[in-house]
Amino acid sequence: MPAALRCDSLAKRYGATVALGGVDLEVAPGELLGLLGPNGAGKSTLTKIACGLVRATDGRAEVEGAPAGSAEARAAIGYLAELFRFPDWLTADELLALHQDLSGSEGGPNERSELLELVGLADARDTKVAAMSKGMQQRLGIAQALVGSPRLLMLDEPTSALDPVGRRVVRDLLRELRERGIAVVLSSHLLSEVELVCDRVAILLGGRIVAQGTPDELAQPRGVEVETGEGVRSFPEATRDQVPAIVAELVQSGERVYGVRILGSTLEDAYLEAVGAA
């Protein structure tokens, strides 16, 4: 089975500005990848190349084995841009119907109802886009991206305008999509969101991937703290496996042990370290 998204030495330059400087990346079917990086790191460019909106200067990108931008690749992809707008004269149902026509989906009214239900907009079926809040439009955008049952979903900041309840809805939706085998590339600045839902994270900086792995892999151990009768004792080089030996040694030397805390960095720490802002 081909990768949902595969990038080989993918590069994009705008004149003298390097937006992407040779990115190698693979997203497996059903995998949820978080794409992190500061503004201008190349996240949106990477997403747009995969969607066929921007042409790569060098390298290669494939969606489900088809060259990015080809009709086959675009048929397999769903996309929600960071800065998007929908025609304000369309209702939610009309917008989804338009995208069904454009994507060749034969899902009909059932698909539209299911998608609106999925993003919590079942009651807004006949509401015009002009009358929707930004959060509702963002959820409608996710429903639009899911029209035609894409195999790969590219979401650029999909929760930026959502309240905590809306974010929870999207998190649950992403987990459900993963269960259905749909790969998702989630570009976001909200590290806590990414940490909660993503299987793997790639951190971009200056158009290059500077770190990637699971959130646990990226979070480095930071030692052990033991609360004793004489105060907190720190063991910065110690790991979780060494805790029993440390505690045994302290007890043997006559100290009273009240608690042990294993320290590890968060995804935020790993991110800040990777982008050099720690």
Binding site: A71, F84, R85, F86, D101
Partner: protein, 283 residues
């Protein structure tokens, strides 16, 4: 349904629901009401003057009034064409409207073709209806009908379609405001060149005639409009025919079949240029 037809249907619905259409309809109704009043009064005055000259005053009055109506129709049709297309690519991309559509497997060529077909259909229908209304008002008021009314109307319709094509091409390179300004400047330049050509003909100034000829090749909507005007009195002869040719809206150039062939080639070239530019454009 083919991809281009889906986009054309979307463009048609968008055109109908935009407020610009209401403005154009309001202006059109106002114009036609004033035009009907003007025709009734003018023909009444002409009748009161009596028929003491060798000039057919009904022909002179009717062709001049309908020529004025054709100019207004061309102008309002151009306004509609420009406003329906000025932001079709770069403007919509900057607002984030275009990307969700382009990502679909519909293809950029179909998207462009559909946008053009939608805008052209709305403009052509509008121009045809307004021109027909003007012909009917003139005919009923003054019992005068143009010599080649259908041909004149087709010239006017195609002229506005050409303006829509130019505006769509411009929308790939320019932002909405810049494109609107650029197309209206081209529109004005084309009309000015036509007037210069008329002055050149009257005064036998070769340079002015050359300027008009070159501009007609570059901006064929002006030549199509002139051909339409010429069709109003194409079969009128004698002193009346000569006088009509001197009038502000009657001194038009006859177009040969070459103009129609060139218009088709021109639209194909504009379409090919737009397709190539859109295909290379990063969104």
């Amino acid at each position: 349904m083919s991809s281009a037809l889906i986009v054309a249907r979307y463009a048609l619905r968008e055109a109908v629901r935009r407020r610009v259409i209401l403005v154009v309809v309001f202006l059109t109704v106002c114009f036609l009401a004033l035009y009907a009043l003007g025709c009734a009064v003018t023909f009444h005055e002409v009748d009161a003057l009596g028929d003491g000259s060798q000039i057919d005053q009904r022909v002179l009055t009717g062709s001049t009034l309908l020529g004025l109506a054709m100019f207004t129709t061309l102008f309002l049709g151009a306004v509609l064409a420009v406003f329906l297309t000025l932001g079709a690519v770069r403007g919509d991309a900057e607002r984030g409207l275009l990307q969700p559509l382009v990502v679909r497997p519909v293809g950029r060529t179909s998207l462009l073709l559909g946008r053009f077909a939608g805008a052209a259909a709305v403009c052509a229908l509008y121009v045809a209806v307004m021109y027909s209304a003007a012909v009917l008002i003139t005919g009923i008021s003054g019992d005068w009908w143009p010599d080649r009314g259908v041909g004149a109307g087709i010239g006017l319709v195609v002229a506005v379609v050409v303006i829509a094509a130019i505006s769509l091409l411009g929308s790939i390179f320019l932002s909405s405001t810049a494109n609107g300004i650029a197309v209206f400047m081209l529109f004005g330049a084309g009309l000015a060149a036509g007037l210069l050509g008329q002055i050149g003909d009257a005064l036998a100034v070769q340079t002015l005639q050359d300027v008009a000829k070159v501009s007609s090749w570059l901006l064929p909507f002006e030549a199509l409009y002139q051909a339409g005007l010429h069709g109003l009195t194409a079969d009128t002869s004698g002193i009346t025919g000569v006088i009509v040719q001197l009038g502000p809206f009657g001194g038009a150039q006859e177009a040969g079949s070459g103009l129609w062939v060139w218009t088709v080639v021109y639209l194909a070239l504009v379409g090919a240029g737009a397709r190539a530019a859109f295909a290379r454009r990063d969104l």
